[in-house]
Subunit: 145 residues, 2 copies
DNA sequence: TTATTATTGAAAACAATTTTCAATAAGGAA
DNA sequence: TTCCTTATTGAAAATTGTTTTCAATAATAA
């Protein structure tokens, strides 16, 4: 989906949920809707300031919270820290992240049913949720490697 | 594997890698080898102090680093923060965590080959790694629910 | 246009982790 | 067993990342 449509969709949802669409908030939303890489708060801030120079770091965090609540962004997890966020679409999906350039892409259909059943049998746990994130090289970095 | 054997194994490996086996370090190792739940640094500290009362928080962090490097502990990831660690065994494995009591259990055999191939086909990414963590209710909490 | 109140961002506070540095102790060599 | 080397320690300080405070501003409904 094109970023500008994403921004509009997200904006409409936030408005519907009672949030106000301020300029700084829009700037942050736009950065997140447009990105093709995972971004940490300070990166989001720097980019948002291109659209609204007075954007504050706190607004970045607050807007991330709001967007997380709506399911529009998801936190990424890495061995060296879990500080980045990537856009997420509706429904159940996961991300694959490029180890090199941080490009992210979402995919659906994790197909973990068989594994979940097997783990349940082996451990006795009732499995209610899962976290899955793939990593590797994106098409661009693959070509350069 | 019994915790005392784990402690011995871990100690021997650390010694072999040139680390010294100090009393505080042993206390931390023991806590991590014995735990059946994921533990945050401050929790580890509190327990380690039962074995060696002068243990410092910094030693907890340092020992965690060392054990992570050896593959003996793994960081757990949660929506409300990624601060906990759980024991990990050699080879490729993942954890399932109880949402209620934080009990953790490791399982092998993630069987993601088919998914990885599918994602590769769909995204063009070369998949080189993955992170998987299951959550749910452990056998004990299941019975109480 | 006015009023309400959500939102802002700088500064401060908080939370988690890492670094500094003098003191201590593990462990190897003699 | 003793001595020496140096890894390790932990309190304090510093750093990093995030949240709270609060006066000012701005979105938006009436």
């Amino acid at each position: 989906m094109a970023a500008s449509n994403l921004v509009d969709d997200w904006a409409a949802r936030l408005r519907k949920e009672g949030y106000r669409l301020t300029a700084p908030r829009r700037a942050v939303i736009r950065v997140l809707a447009e990105t093709s890489t995972s971004l940490a708060p300070d990166q989001i801030l720097r980019r948002a300031r291109r659209y609204y120079p007075k954007t504050g770091l706190v607004t970045v965090y607050r807007t991330l919270d709001v967007l997380k609540g709506c399911g529009y962004v998801r936190k990424m997890h890495r061995l060296d820290g879990c500080h980045s966020y990537a856009p997420a679409s509706a429904g159940h999906a996961h991300h694959i992240v490029c180890e090199r350039c941080r490009a992210v892409m979402e995919f659906k259909g994790c197909d973990l049913d068989a594994l979940i059943k097997s783990v349940r049998r082996r451990t006795g746990y009732l499995v209610k949720g899962h976290w899955l994130e793939l990593s590797g090289l994106c098409p661009v970095c693959r070509k350069e490697a």
